[in-house]
Symmetry: C2
Subunit: 310 residues, 2 copies
C-alpha cells in the first residue's frame, strides 16, 4: 500500500506535531494504513522540549507531497488549504482531524473528517484511542498531553472544553507525568524568546486568513512578560510590514499573549486598522491595544475579525 | 436552552430522515442539547414504510429556520449549503454528521463535524451510540437500520463499507427484524412508482451540484424494472427541461437504477451532454445510455462529472 503522509499546519505548534504523530499511529492500528507523520516546518522550543522529554524523533520536514512521491495525505489540526502543504489542491485527502473552523476546504469524494469544538486536536486523537480501545504507547500519550496543555494554556484558555481536562488526566497517567508540574515546565520552555529574531518571533505560530477578499495574517507569541516583547515593537512592525509586502497580506496582527495572566496585547499594521478596531471595540494607540482576557486566536480574534471584514 | 433543529437534505431519503431522528436523540443524551428532528420535505414511500413499521411519527416538514424562531441547526446526511435549509447562510451550525464529499460548506467558528466514507450516515450515528455506550431504543435502531439498507441497497452498492454490515446486524437485532427479509420488503416499498407523476419521480431523490460554474441536477429513481420507467422517457425529458429552466440547471441527469441487478440507465438533458459522455466514456443514444454496475451517484457519478466539468 502506498504511503500516506500525516501532518499539521504550516508554522507547526505542539498540537500540529502531536496530533499528526498520534493520529498516524492510530491510523496504522485502526485503519491499517501505511502512514508517516511529517511536518511542514521545524518544531518550536516548546515542541522540542516535549519531543525530547518523551524521546520522540522529530518528524521530517517536507515541502510538498509531490517531492515525496506521495499523492494521499491526512491533515491534522487544520483544514484550510492555505494553511496546508503547498500542493494540497493536487492531492487526495484521506481524512482530517481538527478543532478549528471549517473553511476553504473541499473534496470531490467522501472522506474521513472529524472536527470537534474542543481545546486541542490531540484531545480528539486521545479520545479516539479510547473509543476504539487501542492501547496508547507512553511516548504517544506524552506528546498528546503536551499538546493539550499547550493549546489550553494548562486549561486556562477559553477554548478549553471539559473533555480536554478529562483526557489530559488520562494521558498524563499513561505518560507518567504530573499535569501541573510538567505543564508549567512545558509552557515555560516555549517562552524563551530573547534569542529569537523578529522574523522568528512572527513565524512561531502564524496563520493566514482570507477575509472577504483580503489576506490577513495573525501571529501569536506566548510570553510571561508582554512588556519585554514590546521593547522590540519598532523592529517587529518593520518585519510585519516587510512580510506583508512579500506575501500580499493586507494586514498583519500580532497577539502577544501573557500565558500566566491570560491577557493579550495586539499589534496591528496594514490597510484595515479601523476594521480591527471595530472587531474588538477599541481604539489603537501607537498601533496597539490591550485585550483583557483574550488568549485565543480561534475563539476571540478570528470570528470577530471575520464579522468586521464582512 | 433554545431549540436546535436537526435535519437531513432537501428531497429527503430514508437516510436523511433516519440520521436526523437518530442523531437528535443521541445529541439529547450525550450533549444535553434541546433538539428536534425535522425534515426539509415529505417522506418518500420507502421512508413512510420504515416510519410506519417502527411506529415513528413523521417529523414536521419545515421551510426555514427563521420561520421556526430557531438560529442553530445540525445537518445530517449532507453538508453542501445548496442541499440544505433555505436560510442556512444566516444560521449557526452546531454540527454535521455525513458520509458525502465536503464542499460548499464553511463556518466562522469551530464546530462538531463527523464525516466518514461509509455507506450511510445512519451507520455513523449507530456507531456513535455504541462508542458512547448509549442505549438505543428499538424504534431508533429500526429507522437507522432501514437507512443503511436503503443507502447500500442491502449491501450491494459499491458505497457499502464493511462497517455498514456490522452495525446493521447489531441494529437489526435491537429492532427485532431479519435483515434480509425486512430489507427486501423495505426496498420493494420504495419502488412503487406507477402512480407517480414525472415531477414526483424526479424529486424522489434529487440533488444539485455546482460544477465549475454550472448547476447540474442529478436525480435517482430506484426500480426493479428499468424498461417500465423508460416507457415514460418523453414525458420525463419534458419535465427535466422544464425544471431546468425554472431553476437554472445547466444539465439534468436522471439515474434509473435497477436495485436487484445493480445497473443504471442514465437520461441526460442539457447544455453539456458531451461532458457527461466524456465523464462515463460513452456515447448517448436518444439522450441515454446504460451504465453497467453503476448504482451510486456519490461514488460512480459525481466524481466523474466533476472531473469532466473541470
Amino acid at each position: 500500500m502506498s504511503k500516506i503522509l500525516v501532518f499539521g499546519h504550516q508554522n507547526p505548534d505542539t498540537d500540529a506535531f502531536a496530533s499528526a504523530i498520534g493520529f498516524s499511529y492510530l491510523a496504522k492500528q485502526k485503519f491499517k494504513l501505511n502512514t508517516e507523520a511529517v511536518a511542514l516546518g521545524q518544531p518550536n522550543e516548546e515542541t522540542k522540549y516535549a519531543l525530547d522529554f518523551f524521546k520522540i524523533d522529530s518528524p521530517r520536514v517536507i515541502k510538498s507531497a509531490a517531492s515525496e512521491n506521495v499523492d494521499t495525505v491526512i491533515l491534522t489540526d487544520h483544514n484550510e488549504f492555505q494553511q496546508s502543504i503547498s500542493d494540497i489542491k493536487e492531492l487526495t485527502i484521506w481524512g482530517v482531524v481538527d478543532h478549528h473552523r471549517i473553511a476553504n476546504f473541499a473534496t470531490t469524494d467522501p472522506v474521513f473528517f472529524r472536527a470537534e469544538p474542543v481545546g486541542s486536536s490531540s484531545s480528539i486523537v486521545g479520545r479516539m484511542f479510547k473509543e476504539n480501545q487501542i492501547e496508547i504507547p507512553k511516548r504517544i500519550a506524552g506528546i498528546l498531553v503536551s499538546a493539550i496543555i499547550s493549546d489550553t494554556l494548562l486549561f486556562k484558555s477559553p477554548t478549553t472544553h471539559p473533555s480536554d481536562r478529562t483526557i489530559a488526566q488520562y494521558l498524563a497517567k499513561i505518560a507518567g507525568v504530573d499535569l501541573e508540574v510538567y505543564g508549567l515546565e512545558l509552557l515555560k520552555a516555549g517562552v524563551n524568546l530573547a534569542s529569537k529574531s523578529e522574523n522568528e518571533l512572527l513565524s512561531l505560530d502564524a496563520k493566514t486568513f482570507p477575509l472577504n477578499g483580503q489576506n490577513v495574517r495573525v501571529a501569536q507569541i506566548n510570553t510571561v512578560n508582554i512588556a519585554e516583547i514590546l521593547t522590540r515593537q519598532n523592529a517587529l512592525e518593520k518585519a510585519m510590514k516587510s512580510e506583508s509586502e512579500q506575501n500580499g497580506y493586507s494586514d498583519f496582527i500580532l497577539m502577544i499573549t501573557d500565558i500566566l495572566n491570560s491577557n493579550s496585547e495586539i499589534l496591528v499594521v496594514g490597510e484595515n486598522q479601523s476594521k480591527a478596531e471595530a472587531a474588538f471595540n477599541v481604539k489603537l494607540q501607537d498601533n496597539r491595544t490591550f485585550l483583557k482576557g483574550v488568549v485565543s486566536r480561534k475563539k476571540q480574534i478570528i470570528p470577530q475579525l471575520t464579522e468586521a471584514f464582512e
